[in-house]
Amino acid sequence: MIDIAVQTHDFDMAALYQKLSRRAAHGAVVTFTGLVREVAGGDLTHLSLEHYPGMTEQALQDIAEQAKARWPVGEIIIVHRVGTLALNEQIVFVGVSSAHRKQAFAAAEFLMDYLKTRAPFWKKEHTTTGERWVEAKKSDEAAASRWQQREVEP
């Protein structure tokens, strides 16, 4: 099952974990949570997150389906928040259940690498001195393209 949500409100880790851990055949659950962190200079007041409604949900669904095609995983949950987010608030949740840990770890990492480079979200940092759009990182693109070269899966 694939469960995708793009929302302004916060999410409950415990409730999402419950959903991931309800199948008897799945002995592994891997989750990742991304938070708003302080920037260099230490003057962040909040982030704003913009997205492309419609395309975002479709892109996340595609990414989850690709993960399912690569690894024998059970449940996939992706939650991504948009709008205004304060320092230390939760931004994104990715959770995967599987029979064994390796597939769950790999799928969760794949989902995050692809989400960061292939889903239409844009972050803007608001600081005490102004605002700036976050620039895409080469390291994120490199992390995502790694998966295209991997023939042997864990």
């Binding site: 991304g34 492309y52 479709q58 960061k116 889903a119």
Partner: protein, 81 residues
């Protein structure tokens, strides 16, 4: 066709959405050239920015064909997660 702009692009162009008359099929690159010709601001913004494009909410290359009725979007590299 409907053309959408997001994030830094939307702000710099001061435009989230516009309608373009397009009777013949064309390419994303050709639409971009048309948009650049609108004014100096459009030229400068669309030239000095790494851009991604989507047709009907799917990522496409700039040589992709686009036609009347499509939803075309331009935006900067994504920064979610």
């Amino acid at each position: 066709m409907k053309v959408l702009f997001f994030a830094m692009l939307r702000e710099r162009l001061e435009c989230a959405e516009l309608q373009l008359e397009q009777t013949q099929p064309t390419t994303v690159a050709e639409v971009l050239e048309r948009l650049k010709a609108r004014s100096e601001k459009w030229q400068a913004t669309l030239e000095n920015q790494e851009l991604l494009a989507a047709i009907n909410q799917r990522f496409v290359d700039f040589d992709a064909s686009v036609q009347h009725g499509d939803e075309l979007a331009f935006f900067p590299p994504v920064t979610g997660g």
